[in-house]
Amino acid sequence: MLRYALLRIFGAIPTLLLVIALAFMMVHAAPGGPFDAERVLPPEIEQNIARAYNLDESLPQQFLGYLGGLVQGDLGPSYRYRDYSVSELIGNALPVSMQLGVLAMLLAIVTGIAAGLTAALSKNSYIDRLVTGIAMTGISVPVFVIAPVMVLVFAVYLNWLPASWTGGTEISRLILPVVALALPQIAYIARLTRASMIGVLSSDFVRTARAQGLKTSSIIRYHALKPAMLPLLSYMGPAIAGILTGSVVIEEIFGIPGVGQFFIRGALNRDYTLVLGIVIFYATLVILLNLVVDLLYGILDPRIRRR
């Protein structure tokens, strides 16, 4: 197990390099540059700017320069926000996004699993139909519809909650964005849990246990729960990706300066260094998380453990 984990971590380094190279190429392949604007600059000034940001060097030279800085832990200056370095921008944005994302994920997992289990255990009862129905609706309406509607209803009309997030940790400011972000995931997780639990409950070994006379609650606790959670683990990857994508919309609507926002702005502004910096962070995070999920899969499903 440990060897597997270490191998994976080592193997991740070439992956990371590949990702960086790919991202670098793509971002420079996109037409338009970071300093284009409706007000076209006189050629001498363009030259000065190009020189100041190494844009007059060839692409391979720029790439090597970037890697050189990277090794020293320097992600470079932002091309767009000229007073700040990329590390600072990410450093500011990351805790914000993490807070939002982690809270949403927790809310989604807890609520989703609870809802799904409840539905599965009282299958085909009206509770089940209700939960399933709500979950279905959560999946069927895009988040960029739900969120503005929520803002309109709760912040503008009812004035119960703030319409935006402006730093600080006031809980009231977090409620709307976290809930809006979690909603689609709650729906997916509830459905997955329900389906998975139903499947497990009708499987052979559960029926064996029941035939052996074990109580339902013990069956659930000791035999059914773990395998039922397995598909959920597989879903964690997409779930996190979903939270990250959804967070861009949420960040936009609630004015939250998170990584998603900076990333989109960076891509649209051709802020090469900012975009690359975020890609590297994201890539590292995803690689680590995949490793964790795979390890957990190995732990929880004994059938896979031996490789």
């Binding site: 279905m136 519809v145 891509a267």
Partner: protein
């Protein structure tokens, strides 16, 4: 087990399953209306009418769903949106299905180094932020309509591949696979004839997650301004337009959202029904 042998009982059981029948009927009905409907209306989806903007739904002037901010008939545009959305989603899901299943099954079954390398590649692709990848695809290839669903399909196959691989890993240990190997069936044979049909259940369930996902991805692209180009439209684009005019003309948001939700709901319930029917472990 051959494909036919796997599918036939499913089809038979489907006919008896109420959810499947109802949902597929609704979807087919919506698709049919989308194809035939525009022929019935006198309005064209791109014809603007600046004097009749923001009209409430009514029978006068045959604006069944009202008009939008440029005076275009919402009924015809909604139908167009349905066409485009369904088309994009089905093609995108098909692409991700094909690539994902093949990739995941091979990786999961063959295992070992091949699996490691294949999943490493998936990791690398996963790590590239989807939005960025899509923006650049769009930008480099100039907003080609075809590119939209290729882009969506190219993103989603990663999820499918991981799920299928996981499922294949479990299936690999099952008795009938050992039996087939003992008989002497080759590896590709096992993958094609024994693993894949058994993946059907999982794949179908996941497909009913990916088609709605593809639809939602398309609406996200519209949100970013990268989706279908004007004057064409999709349900996502219509919904987006509706959000900005939410207070002034709520029907511009409500109607496309309801249609979108209905389609997504049907796909999701359909998936549930198919899962009930296709699960090989289920004995009635």
């Amino acid at each position: 087990m051959s494909y036919l042998a796997a599918i036939r009982p499913i089809l038979r059981k489907s006919r008896d399953n109420k959810t499947i029948v109802v949902c597929s009927s609704i979807l087919l009905l919506i698709a049919a209306v989308a194809l035939i409907g525009p022929l019935l209306s006198t309005h064209h989806y791109a014809s603007t009418d600046f004097d009749n903007r923001f009209m409430l739904p009514s029978l006068s002037g045959w604006h069944l769903f009202g008009t939008d901010d440029l005076g275009r008939d919402l009924f015809v545009r909604t139908l167009l949106g349905v066409k485009v959305t369904l088309f994009v989603a089905i093609i995108a899901s098909g692409v991700s299905l094909g690539i994902g299943v093949a990739y995941g099954a091979i990786a999961g079954y063959v295992g070992g180094k091949v699996d490691a390398v294949m999943m490493r590649a998936v990791d690398a692709l996963y790590a590239l932020p989807f939005i960025f990848f899509v923006i650049l695809l769009m930008v480099v290839f100039e907003r080609n309509f075809l590119l939209i669903f290729v882009a969506i399909g190219a993103i989603n196959w990663l999820d499918m591949a991981r799920i299928v691989r996981g499922q294949t890993l479990s299936l690999k240990q099952r008795e009938f696979v050992d039996a087939a190997r003992l008989i002497g069936v080759s590896t590709p044979g096992i993958i094609l004839r024994h693993i894949t049909p058994n993946l059907f259940g999982v794949v179908v369930v996941y497909m009913t997650l990916t088609i709605p996902q593809a639809i939602l991805v398309e609406s996200l692209l519209s949100f970013l301004g990268l989706g279908v180009q004007e004057p064409q439209t999709s349900l996502g684009a219509l919904v987006n337009g509706g959000v900005s005019n939410m207070e002034r003309a709520p029907w511009l948001l409500l109607i496309p959202s309801i249609v979108l939700a209905l389609i997504l709901l049907c796909f999701n319930f359909l998936g549930d029904g198919l899962r009930d029917v296709a699960d090989p472990k289920k004995k009635t």
